[in-house]
């Protein structure tokens, strides 16, 4: 199994043997790993083959060795981040980890769709965090495996070249559907909002939320040509009358709150991809983990870090993103599908 939990000693041996990994763990475990061909991010939450796990002793790692003929690992600041698509190999993908609430996280959230070659190369990844008990005391981290450098300000990227017989695709599981209630539009793009246009009428957003008694577990959803992009509620500041989100709301986008779900966990499991055996990487939102009460519960064979934001070309919330690997068909076989 290419994605699973490891004891630190076992993983360290594999790193020293030259294997290539994408890693998630508590910060103090990441610090002790040997230098090597890996990138890492801080999170003690995982989906394993045993179900949801919270661990400060184990490390989650995906072994990419068999699917790469070459790779390049770099720390990325806001400037380098703009090249994430152009730096992705023609037949390959980039795995990107950004520390939660860092300048690179915020910059990516706001600007990724404007980067050169946006969507023309697969970019998948996640936002690192920390144990929720450590909120306010620790900062999220990423690690550049080849040097061991740890950063809370930069991201880390692994640009992976696939063997020529392989190709990859990024998918997203978003169990939420737009409701049929009010249309919401925001006068400004950002991670927080004071004002909102409700069916065209400007209102105080916090007052609107209170009057509607909206369920904060249900995100706002913008529909981008069928891609449902969530903005999940993070917090409210009653003094400043500000509502904060885990992902930005965009001026010009039209939002509706998600429909209420009968059962969060059941709906999530029902929406998992059919061909999960092809999944190499998967990243599942901490909000799904908490609201679905996934600790101890399996979601099929899906395994991966539980994250503080997901990257599937753009920053996503309350989703699971995954990278699937396919073998190329023999040349000519797809021609019959075209007209």
């Amino acid at each position: 199994m290419s994605s699973r939990l490891y004891c630190p000693e076992e993983l360290s041996d594999l790193i020293r043997a030259g294997r290539v990994f994408c890693i998630a763990a508590e910060e103090q475990l990441l610090k002790k790993l040997p230098r090597g061909n890996w990138i890492g991010g801080s999170s003690p939450y995982f989906m394993s083959d045993q179900g949801g796990v919270v661990s400060r002793e184990k490390i989650f790692a995906t072994d990419l060795t068999k699917v790469t003929t070459g790779f390049n690992i770099t720390l990325v600041d806001e400037h380098e981040l703009k090249k994430v698509y152009t730096n992705t190999p023609e037949n390959g993908f980039t795995c990107l980890i950004l520390p939660s609430m860092s300048p690179v996280h915020l910059s990516y959230a706001l600007n990724a769709s404007e980067y050169p070659d946006f969507a023309f190369r697969p970019v998948i990844g996640w936002v690192s965090g920390m144990h929720l008990f450590d909120l306010g005391e620790k900062s999220a981290k990423v690690v550049h495996g080849p040097t061991g450098e740890i950063s809370s300000d930069k991201g880390v990227a692994m640009h992976v070249t696939l063997p020529p017989e392989m190709m990859c695709d990024i998918g997203m599981v978003n169990i939420f559907k737009q409701g049929t209630d009010d249309i919401l539009e925001f006068p400004e793009t950002g991670f927080h909002a004071k004002k909102v246009f409700v069916n065209g009428e400007e209102k105080c957003f916090l007052d609107y939320l209170k009057s509607k008694r909206l369920n904060f577990k249900l995100p706002l959803i913008a529909d981008s040509a069928g891609a449902k992009v969530n903005a999940s509620f993070q917090a409210i500041d009653p003094k400043e009358k500000v509502v904060k989100f885990y992902a930005p709301v965009f001026k010009g986008a039209t939002y509706r709150q998600a429909e209420l779900l009968d059962d969060y966990a059941t709906e999530f499991i029902r929406n998992l991809p059919a061909s999960s055996e092809r999944i190499l990487l998967s990243f599942n939102c901490i909000l799904n983990f908490l609201y679905s009460e996934l600790e101890g519960r399996r979601i099929g064979s899906i395994a991966g870090p539980v994250t503080f934001g997901e990257i599937g070309y753009v920053l996503l919330n309350q989703t699971m993103v995954y990278l699937s690997i396919y073998l190329r068909e023999e040349e000519g076989s797809f021609i019959s599908q075209s007209q």
Binding site: A119, F120, M167, G226, A227
Partner: protein, 77 residues
């Protein structure tokens, strides 16, 4: 699907929302959403926007999700 397909009117129709379609390819959905917004503010760039959408699909034509989308798009030709 071939490279010269980019001039087929169906790609412009897609940008202009002249038909609705449920795409499977995530990159396609996200790029289409962006290009449709751009068309709204810069309609004179339609040819360029349509070309871009075609090019994304041509580049990824071997993927199952793309093949599925191409089949749906071909029905609108």
């Amino acid at each position: 699907m071939n490279e010269t397909d980019s001039v087929h009117p169906v790609w412009k129709k897609l940008i202009k929302k002249e038909f609705s379609i449920s795409l499977s390819f995530l990159a396609g959905k996200l790029l289409l959403g962006k290009l449709q917004v751009q068309y709204g503010t810069e309609p004179k760039n339609l040819v360029h926007l349509a070309r871009k959408m075609h090019d994304l699909y041509y580049l990824n034509k071997d993927l199952p999700s793309v093949k599925k989308d191409i089949e749906l798009i071909n029905r609108e030709r």
